[in-house]
């Protein structure tokens, strides 16, 4: 029996057993009628909803809106985060001054800022972008700080021997040595920014975006539309992650197989 597990096609087939069973169960629920039929929409209607949304261009619009929000927030929050992390790691004064404030603010659950930001900025794109940027900001600060403070002294000694200026020291030693951890921070930032994008879109429920589409579909009790949006969200999230992992691999190609 366990021989089966060693054959790739068999493994794929085994992996499909549970999802297929769930789909059958779901389909059965949808035909049971009554109150449950509202939630358990027939699978056929999910496909129809997909075709409809994709055909009208609605799905593409929403996907692009979500994607650009997530990427813009990642860039804004990531750049600010790496900058602050690096400055905190190189300046004791800034570390002492800003560090405690950063750690205090970070304790508030990210989306807990929404009511406050909603009051200040309304529930438009500005408010969403601020939350998404904040989501990307936290992990990049932390990891850049760790990365810079943990650069090995033996490398800094080499810089001293060859008379590096402080700019050279930063550009040729500190930054590349910290890069693996900085990129770990950006990887986390990507995941958080993605969650924050979907979350703010659902919660603020205005404008376009996959989350807004889910929120609207919930109000209209359209489970088929929700499922389509979730499917696209998962695929996009996976793709973003994969693309970034490749970029990271390229930037860290000097680490070799050990990394």
């Amino acid at each position: 029996m366990s021989m089966l597990l060693k054959r790739p096609p068999a493994r794929i087939a085994i992996g499909l057993v549970v999802p297929v069973l769930i789909l059958f169960w779901w389909q059965a629920q949808s035909q049971a009628g009554g109150a449950r039929a509202l939630a358990f929409v027939p699978l056929g209607s999910v496909a129809t909803a997909f075709a409809e949304l994709a055909g009208s261009g609605q799905l593409l619009d929403d996907a692009l809106a979500t994607l650009s929000r997530a990427v813009t927030g990642l860039l804004l929050g990531g750049i600010a985060g790496v900058t602050l992390g690096v400055v905190m790691a190189t300046s004791r004064l800034v570390d002492r001054l800003v560090g405690p404030l950063y750690h205090a603010i970070r304790q508030v659950p990210l989306l807990g800022w929404l009511p406050l930001i909603g009051l200040w900025l309304g529930n438009g794109d500005g408010a969403k972008l601020l939350i998404v940027s904040l989501a990307a900001f936290y992990p990049t600060v932390l990891n850049s700080y760790e990365g810079i403070t943990h650069v090995e002294k033996r490398y800094l000694d080499v810089g001293r021997i060859y008379g590096f200026t402080s700019v050279q020291r930063f550009r040729l030693i500190l930054l590349p040595a910290a890069l693996p951890l900085i990129l770990t921070g950006v990887t986390q930032a990507l995941a958080f920014a993605w969650i924050a994008t979907i979350g703010t879109e659902i919660l603020l429920g205005s404008g376009s975006g996959l989350g807004a589409a889910m929120g609207l579909a919930q109000a209209q009790q359209r489970m088929d539309v929700i499922l389509v949006a979730i499917l696209v969200t998962a695929l996009l999230g996976f793709t973003l992650n994969d693309l970034f992992a490749r970029l990271r691999g390229h930037l860290l190609r000097w680490q070799g197989a050990s990394a």
Binding site: I14, V18, L97, Q107, G112
Partner: protein
Amino acid sequence: MMARPIPAFIPALAPPLLLIGAWQAASATGLFPAQVLVPPSEVMRTLASLAVNGELSAHLGQSLFRLVFGFAIGATAGLAFGAALALSKWIEALFSPLFLAVRQVPVLAFVPVLVLLLGIEEGFKITIVAVAAFFPVALATFDGVRGVPKAWFEVARVYRTPLVPFVARILVPATVPPVLTGLRIALTRAWLVLVAAELLAADSGIGQMMEMGRQMFRIDVVLAGVIVSGLIGFALDRGAKWIERRATRWRTA
């Protein structure tokens, strides 16, 4: 010989105090309407009155009840699932593709699905907290159990150690540190998701308190909620780290 060093907390306290001072001063100018900026003293007064009239403890009690209940369910399920996935090749083959696919979905995207399936009552909030806790715990448990050196399993086989002592004496102690880290991450994640869920759909809880504050343009109530949710987040993280340190002390001792 040495100048007495300035205690570390003085510069640490300076920026928050400055910020609060500037905030108080800015609101005293009267340039900002009360829907945009209220002085910190006002926020503190609101916080105090919410605490005294019992409103705060009612909201907090609701939120913490949901958190504890949902987290307990999600973490238990995550532990069992992660361990099963790591120990049995068959369970791994059957469930890991589905698990990996579902993991791609941001937890908050389950909110609309669960609202349609369960309504917006307690069941929904507890479920979303449980889902939020499930994934990090399952993943950490899987990694933890897989991280147990193969040699230990072989030793157990050589000595024919029965299953129960094997689990209790070898498997559990070896996997405790990574699992505790997973539980801590799951706890803060669960708190985040709960506050978000309460903002969206609830008749009580810290999140709902903030959302009501927003709808009534009571920025003092919103800020009181921000402070309380931050303090809870801090306490959860610190508490979990404390337990983590105590439970893993044997490793260094």
